[in-house]
């Protein structure tokens, strides 16, 4: 594997680590399989790109994109809580709707961002070679996100959110408004995902409406792979595992891509990640029979 391939794995691993952290919050903490991310990831890219080509500076564009991602989370929560739609379906519905919405936002399926100032530009101006600039900024952002999530889950509010995922009935009996927890959790997770989309688009050089395809699978590969390799009960360890899992997945992919001799092609990795997703959805069912309550 060349240095470039390694850096490529590192930067995509870090960008998608944010989505993995979001998936950890929804799939693991809240026990809410949220498939909205297939729509909120490109939503972040679309909003950010549209704002950037309209003259907005990349930092503001990225921030606004993240906030709009939170709205996508609200939408799924609304479908699930108020309209009583099954959580998986609620996420899928929002993602489907976002496909058309993203097309509307961008006015076309693809917006190019090449040769434009991005959030990585200041780091390049500092003298960091453009190859490493995304890695530097993404590392900073991922670390901050991880710390914020770790702190949040240690607060009374965060503990309440964990209780909702672990045993919703007990949570309610202890005064926790489980509906509110789901709304907040989905908003945070999709906000991070949209942030990831915005950062990735600026790295890739374009926002494309099809960018969301396969995102949830990749995120879960990071969560499953990471937590399988680093099992722990401590939340800071688990979030670290998700980040490392995301990066390791990309490294595995880079390895597979660089040596065709092994026989693994990009399409084979799709099957492997699909299997990982199946495990992700099966584990909670196997473990907690009682805490399953009709939402």
């Amino acid at each position: 594997m060349s240095l470039y391939a390694f850096i490529g794995a590192l930067e995509t691993g870090l960008a998608f680590a944010l989505v993995a952290l979001g998936a950890y919050l929804t799939f693991r903490v809240l026990d809410f399989p949220d498939l909205t991310v297939e729509g909120s990831f490109p939503l972040g890219a679309a909003v950010c790109a549209k704002l950037m080509v309209s003259g907005v500076d990349p930092w503001t564009a990225t921030l606004v994109a993240s906030l709009v991602g939170c709205v996508a989370g609200f939408a799924t929560a609304f479908l699930n809580l108020k309209l009583r739609i099954l959580h998986i379906l609620a996420g899928i519905l929002t993602a489907i709707a976002l496909y058309s919405i993203n097309l509307r936002i961008m006015d076309r399926p693809n917006i190019g961002l090449i040769n434009m100032p991005t959030v990585y530009t200041p780091f390049e101006n500092l003298g960091i070679p453009s190859l490493y600039a995304p890695v530097v900024l993404l590392t900073i952002i991922v670390v901050i996100a991880k710390i914020l999530i770790d702190l949040f889950l240690a607060t009374g509010f965060g503990l309440a959110m964990r209780a909702v995922g672990a045993n919703a009935r007990m949570a309610r009996a202890n005064g926790i408004r489980d509906g509110r927890m789901i709304v907040v959790g989905l908003a945070i997770a999709n906000g991070i995902t949209a942030l990831s989309g915005a950062l990735f688009a600026q790295m890739l050089g374009a926002a494309d409406v099809s960018m969301g395809i396969g995102v949830i699978v990749v995120a879960l590969a990071g969560v499953i792979g990471g937590t399988a390799l680093m099992p722990s009960r401590l939340i800071p360890m688990l979030t670290l595992a998700c980040i490392l899992g995301s990066i390791l997945y990309r490294l595995a992919l880079a390895l597979a891509l660089s040596t065709n001799a092994i026989g693994l092609t990009a399409s084979d990795v799709n099957v492997v990640t699909a299997v990982l997703v199946a495990i992700a959805l099966w584990l909670p069912v196997r473990n907690a029979a009682f805490s399953r309550q009709p939402k």
Partner: protein
């Protein structure tokens, strides 16, 4: 060691180095990335390889090809691009817009030839068509819509509304549709869009037009082409002629096209690659439009399918055709 021995060893060493350097020069390395490996895009790659063979570059002998598909996954595409840059090939060929954008964003050093991109300027791959400068240039697959629509009108004179079946998430399909919508009123007919968001929705998109249009036009759209036979069946049952923008689809059942062939586009791409190998940087090569390259457009018709769709092709038309299926 005597001075003569040192000289001989030094000479041998130098010769060996020189030989290996020459050997390295002799084998050209080309990395190709495509977003999807649908048949249409694979035809481009086929044409590219064939075209380079015609120029004297044989895969395996003096040409080393690394072909990768991102399988529709953007994260993978970014990784592939980085890997390519690490491999330091003599050239990177990018098929479709997103992979082209990823490559152009990632390197300013390695020569890039893009292909199957509809609007290189709008996609920010180049700043201008003529003499773009930089390290990238390529071929656009933009459709000659006016010629296409003229053909439609010729074969369907009573055309009042033209149905458009396409996947709105594909840049090039959308561009063509926009162009058709712009030309239609000037040519005296209306348009009716029927989007197909995925392979499975293609026949339904066709069904939605039955009874409302006299003809259907399909732009170069990998989604619709992926399920093209099902659309042809719908059209034949409803007796609505389908027109497309390239050759292979006519073979599969469209009535006619004044279009180009994707394998041919691959060959024209090879021409640009060859120029790079011979020393002309991509930045010094104008962006090419497939439809403008002499000899690349031709009339293809499918008589059997036309009859099933209730359309008779005039003998003069048949004579003009480069190929009748």
């Amino acid at each position: 060691m005597s001075r003569i021995s040192t000289a001989i060893i030094g000479a041998l060493f130098g010769a060996a180095l020189g030989a290996s350097a020459q050997a390295a020069d002799a084998v050209k390395t080309m990395s190709i990335i495509t977003m999807n490996d649908t048949p249409q895009l694979l035809e481009v790659k086929e044409g590219l390889v064939q075209g380079l063979a015609a120029h004297g570059y044989t895969d395996g002998k003096n040409l080393k090809i690394d072909f990768k598909s991102a399988q529709g996954n953007f994260g993978t595409a970014q990784q592939i691009v980085r890997q390519f840059i690490g491999d330091k090939p003599d050239i990177i060929v990018t098929i479709t817009t997103p992979t082209s954008q990823a490559a152009v964003a990632a390197t300013k050093d390695i020569p890039i030839i893009f292909t199957t991109v509809t609007d290189p300027v709008k996609s920010k791959l180049v700043t201008q068509e003529k003499h773009p400068g930089g390290n990238a240039s390529g071929i656009s697959d933009v459709v000659p819509t006016e010629l296409q629509l003229n053909l439609v009108k010729e074969i369907v004179p009573n055309l009042q509304t033209l149905g458009l079946v396409y996947d709105p998430s594909l840049d090039n399909a959308r561009s063509t549709v926009e162009s058709v919508k712009e030309l239609a009123p000037k040519m005296g007919f209306k348009t009716l869009e029927s989007p197909a968001m995925g392979l499975n929705n293609v026949p339904a998109a066709g069904q939605a037009l039955v009874g409302k249009v006299e003809a259907i036009f399909v732009p170069n759209d990998t989604t619709v082409y992926g399920a093209f036979e099902s659309l042809v069946k719908v059209a034949q049952d409803a007796k609505i002629p389908i027109f497309t923008a390239e050759r292979r689809s006519v073979q599969r059942g469209a009535v006619a096209t004044v279009g180009f062939d994707f394998v041919d586009m691959g060959k024209k791409t090879a021409d640009m690659v060859d120029k790079v190998f011979k020393g002309t940087k991509p930045g010094d090569q104008d962006v090419q439009y497939m439809k403008d390259i002499p000899g690349s457009l031709a009339l293809y018709v499918n008589k059997a399918s036309a009859e099933k769709m209730g359309v008779t092709l005039s003998p003069t038309l048949l004579k003009r055709a480069a190929q009748v299926f």
